[in-house]
Subunit: 123 residues, 2 copies
């Protein structure tokens, strides 16, 4: 297994972040750079702070590009870099797997919870 200092572990942690997956997925689905407010509207439940942090770390990791246009007020858009496009097939595969297997996972949870109740009754 990857040790704590393994570089690829750092990268796995970039992707093991639901908000990062959602941001990448949203820009990917729109197939064009998006405005800050436009992107945020698609991310139901994210706080302003988490949204800003997610955008900053995706930009820092070279997965998204932040384009500032010198208009008044400045127009800021977020788009995918080539690396961000490349990771898209992965984020998409995660989303597809989720859709395909959601019923099975929910059934497993129900069975687990029922068994837990049974065990409690026996005690």
């Amino acid at each position: 297994m990857h040790g704590r200092d393994c570089p690829s572990r750092t990268v796995i942690e970039v992707l093991a972040n639901k908000w990062a997956l959602y941001v990448l997925g949203a820009i990917r689905r729109y197939e064009r750079p998006m405005r800050f407010s436009e992107l945020r509207r698609l991310l139901d439940g994210i706080t302003q702070k988490m949204f800003t942090q997610t955008l900053r770390s995706l930009e820092r990791d070279g997965l998204i590009r932040r384009d500032v246009y010198p208009t008044v007020p400045p127009k800021v858009e977020y788009g995918l870099t080539p690396l961000g496009v490349d990771v898209g097939w992965l984020t998409n595969a995660v989303a597809e797997w989720a859709v395909e297997n959601v019923d099975q996972i929910f059934a497993a949870r129900d069975a687990y919870d029922e068994k837990a109740i049974e065990t409690t009754k026996q005690l």
Copy 2:
């Protein structure tokens, strides 16, 4: 985008968890059920609480199986369910992508940090 109550979003969150990815990856790599202590040794940096929680939620979601053998003391092993095997190609793809792109991501980080220092100097 997925709304806050979208079921598949719940499932994405199962996978957007680095420890869940590491546990699934470790059992997958060993190709056989593993003991609690054996598995934990491979997960450098995990706390006991997080390890127990991760195992419990993977079991509840039907991705791993907990087998208890009635020996003294009882032997407990964790193995992949068919669904856990199925998700393995995804967790493996995430790990492979990480290994392949780690240099590019680290270079992007350096460039970003350097630019941030430059900007600070100009202020």
